[in-house]
Amino acid sequence: MDLSLLPDGGMRWLDASGPKSTIVLSTRIRLARNVRGIPFSQRAKDADRMAVLERVSDAAASSDHLGSAVAFHLDQMDRSERQLLHERHLVSKELAGLERESRPRPGAALLVQDQVGVMVNEEDHLRLHGMWSGFDLEDAYAEVEAIDAELGRLVPFAFHPEFGYLTSCPTNAGTGLRASVLIHLPGLVLTKEINKVLQGLSQVGLTFRGLYGENSEVVGNFFQLSNQTTLGKTEDELIDHLGKIVRQVVEYEEQARDVLLRTAPEEVEDKTWRAYGLLKHARRLSFEETMNLLSGVRLGVGLKLLPGPGVYTLNKLLIYTQPAHLAAMDGRSTGDRELPTVRAAFVRRLLEEESS
């Protein structure tokens, strides 16, 4: 597999060019769709899954938006390669067959072009998705929607006049839309206001997850906020609502940071410089520690307490210090005991390059 086939490795969002990108890392949109008349993935036979893949591939090839998409056939890839795609947020754990001893099933594929992609034969036949830098819900939705409209003309989707787009799990039915933003909230965590904010989210129909979506742990103060319901509201209403709440959360986070600066300026300064110092000099780093230190540095950069590194470098570090990326870079396995040493060396190198 050659990930260099993907411009920016399929992660243009890392460049931190989007609005509010010191606090909001990325905006993600996904639409769940199924091909009419073919059993949903869980019940589909291999032949059904292959039929879905063929239909989607053919449609993509003749479409404007996915006409030059790169295709990854997950069932023909090594585990380490599949893990790379997962670490780049391009495929789910389920599609990549990374859960315990599972293997990707026949027909499991990913098509990617620029910032958008289609997961084929995931929980639903098609999961159209895209990730953008910063806080940019409207533009992100418009682009994924354009692909949806085009593919929907070429492949008959399962749709019901009352229930909307039909999905394998009823939690996604209706619009099939999940909009999410990956947001960094160290101020709210440090001022212990985070629980109140998260608790409020559930009352306004939103939910949060960790860095990798469903069932993932919250690490490094990164939270993914997204809409909980998908039916009974229009796509625009769902997006507007999420946008409104995220703007509020960003405001709370900015206020919390002001409070920190006012009430404990030396402690905050010390914390961010310590995090920076450890990243620059440590000889062994676990992934979790790296995430937490990156969170501290990111806060320091956001508050202008640290002169650098740039947000782009911090974003790159988030992705490239993950096990499969380090292992691939250094020709090791993801379970290698020396990975923490490789990680620390990589972090030092990137930070040195940045400051030189």
């Binding site: 199924n34 009419r36 008349g37 073919i38 059993p39 949903f40 869980q42 019940r43 039929a51 063929e54 239909r55 053919d58 449609a59 003749s62 929980e123 929607e145 929907g152 003309r153 070429l154 492949v155 008959p156 989707f157 399962a158 749709f159 019901h160 006049p161 009352e162 229930f163 909307g164 787009y165 039909l166 394998s168 799990c169 009823p170 939690t171 039915a173 209706g174 619009t175 839309l177 985070i194 629980n195 998260l198 608790q199 409020g200 989210l201 559930s202 009352q203 939910t207 949060f208 997850r209 919250v218 909980q228 319901t229 998908t230 039916l231 009974g232 509201k233 229009t234 796509e235």
Partner: protein, 170 residues
């Protein structure tokens, strides 16, 4: 805004209920909402980073919210039963939504507060909708899919016919 129920405390929860196809929205304070059986964040909150709404159905799939009374119902199209859905949380095919529609309508209302899709309307290409008529590519892809099936089924006469139609369109 004051709570619609006690008219004393501030309303913090909007409770929308659908009864006989009409929608009623109540603005409630936390205490009155709890009395009405709404699980508020405060009562569900256990672990500081728990998923509050998720906690309501924690450890279970949406299927578990469907009563067992209809377990033997079977989808004529894919053969899966409502019991399968209760166990796995996943439906077998798009027709399951019709096969189990009463149960699913109820479930969708509980999950989303509504079962009526109001978002983008979709028309299946080539079915009376203007979409299909405007896009010959859709017809072409359909013919190609039919051709593949014909070849797989060794129905070469039909395959030849389809191939000719494809040539014309191309």
């Amino acid at each position: 805004m004051l709570c619609d129920n006690c008219k004393e405390r501030d309303a913090i929860i909007n409770l929308t209920q659908v009864e006989h196809d009409s929608k009623v929205t109540l603005h409630l304070c936390e205490q009155c909402a709890q009395q009405k059986g709404v699980e508020t964040g405060g009562s569900v909150l256990k672990s500081p980073l728990g998923n509050f709404l998720g906690a309501v159905v924690k450890g279970s799939t949406p299927g578990a919210l469907v009563p067992a009374s209809g377990d033997t119902l079977r989808c004529a199209s894919c053969g899966s039963t409502l019991r399968d859905f209760r166990d796995s949380g996943r439906l077998g095919c798009d027709r399951c939504y019709e096969s189990f529609d009463t149960h699913l309508r109820d479930l969708l209302r509980r999950l989303h507060g509504s079962s009526q899709h109001v978002g983008e309307r979709y028309e299946v290409p080539g079915e009376g909708g203007v979409l299909g008529a405007h896009d010959p590519r859709s017809r072409l892809l359909d013919l190609k899919a039919q051709l593949r099936r014909a070849v797989e089924g060794e129905n070469f006469e039909l395959a030849a016919e389809l191939r000719d139609q494809i040539r014309v369109l191309e």
